[in-house]
């Protein structure tokens, strides 16, 4: 038996509001499944579970705001849930029925909990999660026409999505109605103020010729349909990920007065949100992904972030951040490290500049890379090697 608790989604989060359960008692979950949606300052975050098992009991009602660490549900581990282990596990509430599919490990089947009577106060008010309500409202759907699959028949976001079916564009492409940009700004302010207070930053910059990247991309993309085209940002993230793998002093967390290098490289991708928001969710294992895989995950990540559907692991996992200005804007940015990380790499706009190649001056595509890093962990010397390595990797895009 273990408890699934309100996760901490960043150093400044104290509490979260549970707005949607995607599981009910008796459901099987496996590591990585999205089981709930929690509303925080960062928006609605999809919460993943870190252990596999069977939901025993939901402990927190919808719309409850609870502190980080509060048990949200009780879950039986696979071992406990096995019929044979029933004796060792806390006694089941009802006698075990034979597992319907013998080849699978199944738990004793329990009758569903008695339906909770609908709240009598609001006459005929339909039970639905706030996310579902907002989605329905945005599409002018009458909630009483939607079939609920949540606890006590409550309508979930997924139910409304199903109801919408193919009739409308996928919700990811609609305006993120539930992103609270004011709250997001408060969260950014808290994190950045803490960073400036606690982290002794140092800054480096490096100009890199990315003509080879551009030529390689032009050639690759010429034969590809739009949905599989690559952007230079994907190359930069891969290069930064590989660099972070080789220079572990820039990849990890500074916590409790010491640096913990991370085993994996999860690159936080800074994503601007329309109307003035910013998030940097993790692109997991960015150093291991092929460019195609990285690009498609980046597209998915950007789309979900902009529509307020980030997952909990994406919020808590980034081990280093990359912030890219894209094709507009200016040539360089000096990032502020997102604690407890220890480095942020900035990628400026690509510009055409006169450049010396093999003794002759010619027009080349130049990008300014910057590094802001934590002096408690590394020095400018190591930082320079790290940043130069990213630049070097960008000289051979075919090998990324």
């Amino acid at each position: 038996m273990f408890e699934f608790r309100m996760p901490s989604l960043g150093p400044d989060m104290e509490a979260g509001t549970l707005v949607e359960w995607l599981v009910k008692p008796g459901d099987w979950v496996k590591r990585g499944d999205i089981v709930a949606v929690v509303e925080t300052q960062k928006g609605a975050i999809e919460i993943e579970i870190y252990q596999s098992g069977q939901i025993e009991q939901i402990l927190i009602d919808l719309d409850s705001k609870v502190p980080v660490g509060t048990p949200l549900a009780r879950i039986r581990t696979e071992l406990e849930a096995k019929p044979g282990a029933a004796a060792a596990a806390p006694p089941p509430i009802t006698p075990a029925a034979p597992p319907p599919v013998p080849s699978l490990v199944r738990a004793p089947v329990r009758p569903p909990p008695p339906p909770i009577a609908a709240a009598p106060g609001a006459a005929g008010r339909v039970r639905a999660s706030p996310a579902a309500r907002r989605l329905a409202e945005a599409h002018g759907i009458d909630l009483s026409t939607v079939t609920g699959s949540g606890p006590a028949g409550a309508i979930t976001y997924a139910d409304v999505e199903r109801h919408l079916g193919e009739a409308v564009a996928p919700p990811e492409r609609k305006r993120a109605l539930w992103l609270d940009l004011d709250a997001m700004r408060t969260a950014i302010a808290a994190a950045m103020a803490r960073s400036k207070r606690e982290i002794p930053h140092y800054y480096l910059e490096h100009q890199v010729d990315v003509t080879a990247c551009e030529q390689w991309l032009t050639q690759k993309n010429a034969t590809r349909p739009p949905d599989s085209r690559l952007l230079i940002g994907a190359l930069a993230i891969k290069a930064a990920g590989l660099g972070a793998r080789r220079f572990p002093a820039f990849n990890g967390f500074f916590r409790d007065n010491k640096f913990e290098p991370a085993q994996a490289v999860h690159v936080g991708v800074a994503i601007a949100i329309r109307g003035g928001g910013l998030a940097a969710p993790a692109l997991h294992d960015a150093d291991q992904l092929s460019l195609d895989e990285l690009m498609s995950r980046m597209r998915d990540l950007v789309q979900r972030t902009r529509s307020g559907r980030i997952r909990s692991s994406e919020i808590s996992d980034p081990t280093i951040t990359v912030s890219s200005l894209g094709e507009r804007g200016v040539e360089a940015l000096y990032g502020i490290i997102y604690p407890p990380q220890v480095a942020i790499v900035g990628i400026g706009k690509v510009v055409t500049r006169p450049w010396v190649v093999d003794g002759a001056i010619g027009p080349r595509s130049i990008v300014t890379l910057t590094l802001s890093a934590d002096h408690r962990v590394s020095d400018g010397h190591a930082g320079a090697l790290f940043l130069a390595e990213i630049g070097r990797l960008l000289q051979e895009p075919g090998k990324l």
Binding site: R175, T218, P226, D227, R229, G233, R274, M298, E327
Partner: protein, 85 residues
Amino acid sequence: MSDIDIRTAVQEELNNIAPEIDLATVDPAADLREALDIDSMDFLNFITAIHHRLSVDVPELDYPKLITLDGAVKYLEAKLKSSTR
């Protein structure tokens, strides 16, 4: 497909990316990246959506021709005409 249908398709797809912007107020000759504050990922999503909706595969080399509302409509109109001929 008429000029008006193409314009509607372009506007709808742009609105999916920049929902808060009233495209009627956008200068049809303005650079969409500036007028709508869209980045290269947004623009790629726009080109992808156009590909799915109108079956016009815009090569990267032609991106500059679609940088304004009028330019995009004109370009797609020509492409659709040449493909049905």
